[in-house]
């Protein structure tokens, strides 16, 4: 089966790519193509022009800088998975890359694409949200940096303007234990029914000095369970406190019933996954 007709331009610089996108309202940026080409084929999106940004050197690279890690928007999921820096500094993101689709898809799909497509269950967004990531957006007029929480607005809705591209993602190096879990309908690379990322830091006395809980596929976009986080601060991770935080996280979930799972199941799984992660943080130390 053929794709609908469109024109194609291979961007040779970031500026040229952004200018082409800004000038033509019916242009779309082509990075890995693992979502866009499927959407075009199935008529969920239309485009007159595809601007290929997949070869742009400006969008590549995984680098350590000033207490944070800078990930290029064009970095593939396979590159995240192969990066010793990501494995060591951002284990929650590394686990999400490992749970992302399959080997073939990971070789094409990009970080910027996962953010810009803004699926409610986007695998990479959930750990990045728990890690307080920021997004660097580039446009012909210049760059701006947004909190990831202010970038992803809803299903397939982001703060990206015309001609704007995800240039990079900045992730602070966090102390403590971080984790990511995804539940799907099969073991190999499923779409998330529920995903949970946590980050917990404990002091020498075992009291929580920092906590983040992010949830995927249980709301129109990945969300932070802020009440659950606040309930953990300043005290040790006792079984009562873990149960209370897990309940608050489940209450923060606003899932729908769909083919992959019911609302009640998703809420129960949020509670179970959050409780399990916090219990592990208590055992292993933050």
């Amino acid at each position: 089966m053929l794709l609908p007709r469109f024109e194609y331009r291979h961007a040779t610089s970031l500026l040229q790519g952004m200018t082409l996108l800004a000038e033509s309202p019916e242009a779309r940026a082509l990075a890995g193509g693992t979502d866009l080409l499927v959407d075009l084929r199935e008529r969920r999106q239309q485009a007159r022009l595809l601007v290929d940004i997949s070869q742009l050197a400006e969008l590549r690279g995984i680098d350590a800088a000033d207490g944070e890690v800078r990930l290029g928007g064009g970095v593939t999921v396979g590159e995240l998975l192969a990066s010793p820096l990501v494995a060591a500094a951002l284990p929650a993101l590394h686990r999400a890359a490992r749970a992302f689709a399959d080997f073939l898809t990971r070789n094409k799909a990009t970080l910027g694409g996962n953010l810009a497509n803004a699926s409610p269950g986007a695998d990479l967004v959930v750990p990045l949200l728990a890690l307080d990531a920021r997004v660097v957006l580039a446009a012909p007029a210049g760059e701006r940096t947004l909190a990831l929480d202010a970038f992803v607005l809803g299903p397939r809705r982001t703060a990206l303007g015309a001609g704007e591209l995800v240039r990079a993602v900045l992730v602070p190096r966090a102390e403590g234990r971080q984790s990511f879990h995804k539940l799907g309908l099969k073991r190999g690379g499923p779409i998330a029914v529920v995903s949970v990322a946590t980050r917990v830091r404990l002091d020498a006395g075992g009291r929580v000095t920092g906590a983040a809980v992010a949830l995927g596929a249980v709301a129109p976009r990945p969300v932070r369970a802020v009440e659950a986080e606040a309930s953990l601060l300043g005290a040790p991770l006792t079984p009562d406190r873990i149960a209370r935080a897990a309940d608050l996280a489940a209450a923060a979930a606003r899932p729908i019933d769909d083919v992959r799972g019911s609302r009640a199941y998703r809420q129960a799984m949020v509670r179970a996954l959050v409780a399990r992660d916090l219990a592990a943080a208590q055992t292993e130390g933050g």
Partner: protein
């Protein structure tokens, strides 16, 4: 139409393509590379996997124009009936193919995976073919053959590819 030049299984090849034609479509319909199979055409099944500039990808999710000046290796580029790649030989010896439609994609995926992960065990091999669906459900023999080939490749210390 525009003419692109790529290297297909070691051969410099020129072909005229439309911008919206996928690499899969051009391989099958303009370059007679029908060893690349068409399955779901939405990146779910892995039947169309090829090696594009060293990376195993679904060719249904690449545009042909994106292969300009790049190397494409299909299952035909891994070995020949006279000199099969160790993966191909193991698939034959262990009867890993049933209807056969998934096998070119399986072989190409496993070739790239074992090249990068030569010490992979059974669990990692199973994970590597998570995006390659066999609707005959013949996974046990496929994984058996991949494990056998992995051992042979490791002993040889090469990726086993034919050099053309």
């Amino acid at each position: 139409m525009r003419t692109i030049e790529l290297t297909l299984n070691g051969q410099r090849t020129r072909v005229a393509v439309e911008p919206h034609e996928t690499l899969l479509w051009v391989l099958r319909h303009r370059l007679a590379a029908t060893e690349v199979k068409s399955g779901c055409e939405r990146g779910d099944c892995g039947a169309c996997a090829v090696i594009l500039d060293g990376k195993a990808v679904n060719s249904c999710l690449a545009l042909a124009v994106q292969a300009e000046a790049k190397s494409v290796v299909t299952v035909r580029g891994l070995g020949s009936p006279e000199a099969p790649h160790p993966l191909q030989a193991a698939f034959i010896e262990l009867g890993a193919a049933q209807c056969g439609i998934c096998i070119p994609g399986m072989l190409v995926t496993l070739y790239a995976f074992l090249r990068d992960t030569p010490r992979a065990g059974r669990a990692e091999i199973r994970e590597a073919i998570g995006g390659n669906l066999c609707r005959c459900t013949g996974y046990q023999k496929i994984v058996d053959a991949a494990e056998s080939a992995a051992r042979r490749l490791l002993a040889q210390g090469t990726d086993g590819a034919r050099r053309t």
